[in-house]
């Protein structure tokens, strides 16, 4: 019985958050003078209204899911990996470079490009992990700093040595990747590509890994109680490097997927502008680092974002309504407001009079 109520409680939290998020959104819509029902109807249509919009949502969710999973793994191990953006961008850049400049048949290029993306993202992330284990440099800060370095580096690469100079438009982008090395689309004419399958498979793998393997248990133990983990003989440094590598690797895979499946070239700023990295972190926070929950949360966020575009197209309410709803969602969930509020009340009543 406690198991069931626990599951219910963990479900209640996000559902309540969605309700509160939508309620705050409704207030905002009223403030700008829109119709709440109409706006939300447009939002629903923009996200799920037709098969085309639905696949759009899936396409947008793909990198968010992958990044979210990576961040979730690191969170579970107790590390705040805020470097998803840099890892994503380096992954995308390396995938583009490999697909463009490695000789061979298309399938080989594709395979190598995906691997290159994973490795680049993984190494960039593991580097931050190494700085932490070896030199005790705070991971949160180094991952943030490494983001900027990665962004500027990628921007340099595509605007100087590897810039596409064939077209008349002087855009900071690489050449177009040969279409034999493209990730196939899942449906003809729709934007969702095979990367979504990677995301779905990774979700299941990560779930199984965390749940049923010894090293998955070690990761959870390290995150849950580092002292206990150390006492139990868990090598923190080694585990940190590995989990950071996988975490960054997933972000790198997300970048590779976007480059090989959607844009077919690396365009400066195109991976950073939609805010995939921060959305992925949001998804993880919403799902409190549960892999399947992260997938669902990523779908929800992607739906809010594509739905927001629908709202922008068809009503006077600005697109930013969805970022507002997202922020309220995340704040509500992260604070566990309802739950801990009740708990605090009880505690305060029990310890009546004592100040704390």
């Amino acid at each position: 019985m406690p198991k069931l109520s626990q599951t219910l409680q963990s479900l209640l939290q996000p559902l309540l958050a969605i309700v509160v998020g939508l309620a705050v959104g409704a207030i905002a819509i009223l403030i700008v003078g829109g119709s709440v029902m109409e706006t939300y109807a447009e939002m629903w249509n923009g996200a799920f209204g037709s098969f085309y919009f639905f696949t759009n949502t899936l396409a947008r969710a793909t990198p968010i899911i992958l990044i979210g999973l990576g961040v979730a793994l690191a969170f579970r191990a107790g590390f705040f990996n805020l470097g998803a953006e840099g890892q994503l961008i380096l992954g995308g850049l390396s995938a583009a470079m490999t697909a463009l400049y490695v000789p061979g048949p298309g399938w080989l290029k594709l395979l190598l490009a995906i691997i290159a993306g994973i490795v680049a993202g993984g190494i960039w992330s593991a580097f931050a992990g190494w700085l932490d284990t070896r030199f005790r440099m705070n991971l949160l800060i180094t991952t943030l700093l490494l983001n900027y370095i990665a962004v500027f580096f990628a921007s340099y690469m595509v605007s100087h040595p590897f810039m596409d100079r064939t077209g008349s438009a002087a855009m900071a982008q690489t050449l177009m990747i040969d279409n034999a090395a493209w990730l196939p689309k899942l449906f003809q004419g729709m934007s969702v590509h095979a990367g979504f399958l990677f995301a779905a498979i990774s979700t299941i793998l990560l779930f199984l890994y965390m749940r049923y393997t010894v090293s998955g248990y070690e990761v959870r133990m390290l995150g849950g109680n580092p002292l206990f983990a150390a006492y139990g003989g868990v090598n923190r440094g080694r585990l940190m490097l590995i989990s950071m590598f996988v975490s960054g690797g997933l972000a790198g895979l997300a970048g590779a997927g976007e480059v090989l499946g959607t844009q077919y070239r690396f365009i400066d700023g195109s991976l950073a502008a939609p805010g995939y990295a921060w959305s992925g972190i949001m998804a993880t926070l919403l799902a409190s680092s549960h892999p399947i929950g992260t997938l669902l949360a990523a779908l929800l966020l992607a739906a809010l974002q594509t739905g927001g575009m629908g709202v922008e197209r068809n009503t006077d309410v600005p697109l930013e309504i969805s970022s507002l709803i997202q922020a309220v969602l995340i704040l509500f969930v992260s604070a566990r407001i309802s739950y801990s509020f009740i708990k605090n009340r009880k505690k305060a009543r029990a310890a009546d009079g004592s100040s704390s």
Binding site: V32, F80, R136, L145, E320, L331, S334, S340, N344
Partner: protein
């Protein structure tokens, strides 16, 4: 060498560094009471926006500053309530605050001014520049020190004020004790929660000023996400300076110096990407060299966040 002697280099450094410095000092206060404030970025953004709104509503620059401070304090109060009272993880809430700031400012930009991307009003008056009577006549130094917005001087002043407060007053000592060991301080009758709220609110006020310097200091405009990572830099500066106001000041200046040096080097055939990267690389290196005393790690451990 001419480049390094150019007074405008240092003058632009002071201007660029002020938002970072103010926010970093706020971050230092939070760190000292055991709260690792990742939300600086969002708080600066709210400050920048509410500064413009205040200016738009009142038409008075000083009231606008006050408005910005109050708005950000409201948000930091919420932040404090969630982390201190509801005991949520401070880093997660900080990240959430950043999202909220981004969403709220872009939405309000559309809702209030009905524009997208950025808002500027040529009728608005920005912060005045103060030419300091005697100082501005000093040959080389005068050009650097004189002619800035009042917030630049306030930022520099705050370094000293906070240093004296933290290390030379009883209240400051209690504040540090509250962060160092909350349980022991509580047993001595120090109201830990009150100090935490106080530090958070002061941090909000400082971030409000930081934002106002950004939006009203030079350009009198607001653009989406105009804090553009300054809050994170401030966080790094807090960390690098080990939450000591003097250290925070020095590390902010280091960052400001490298970034204005970087933009100066752009003229010399170096790709802009490398010059913009320079401050981040230097900060990373600085972290590497000054990493012994782990004040922040202690602060976070006491709050059971991160690890």
């Amino acid at each position: 060498m001419d480049l390094l002697l150019d007074p405008t280099l240092y003058s632009s450094m002071l201007r660029a560094v002020t938002p970072i410095l103010l926010a970093a000092l706020g971050g230092a206060l939070c760190a000292r009471v055991g709260l690792f404030n990742v939300g600086l970025e969002g708080l600066i953004l709210i400050g920048a926006f509410s500064g413009i709104v205040g200016n738009h509503l009142t038409g008075n620059i000083w009231l606008a500053l006050l408005f910005a401070m109050l708005c950000v304090m409201l948000f930091s109060l919420m932040f404090a309530f969630i982390t201190i009272h509801l005991k949520a993880n401070v880093i997660v809430v900080g990240v959430a605050i950043n999202f909220l700031a981004m969403g709220l400012t872009t939405f309000s930009l559309r809702a209030i001014f009905n524009v997208k991307g950025s808002y500027r009003d040529t009728n608005m008056v920005g912060l005045p520049r103060w030419d300091i009577p005697l100082v501005q006549d000093i040959p080389w130094l005068g050009k650097i020190i004189s002619g800035h917005s009042p917030l630049v001087y306030l930022g520099l002043l705050m370094v000293g004020v906070l240093y004296v407060y933290m290390f030379r007053t009883v209240s400051g000592f209690r504040l540090r004790a509250a962060g160092e060991n909350p349980i022991a301080s509580r047993s001595l009758g120090i109201r830990v929660t009150r100090y935490q709220y106080g530090a958070m609110l002061a941090c909000g006020a400082l971030c409000g000023l930081a934002g106002a310097q950004l939006s009203l200091g030079q350009l009198t405009m607001f653009s989406e996400g105009m804090s553009s990572g300054r809050g994170f830099i401030a966080l790094v500066a807090t960390m690098l300076g080990q939450a000591n106001p003097l250290g925070v000041g020095a590390s902010s200046l280091l960052f400001g110096f490298t970034s204005s040096l970087g933009s100066r080097l752009q003229g010399m055939a170096l790709p802009t990407q490398f010059t913009s990267m320079l401050p981040f690389v230097v900060t990373l290196l600085a972290m590497f060299f000054f990493r012994n005393k782990n004040q922040m790690a202690d602060a976070r451990r006491s709050n059971e966040s991160s690890r």
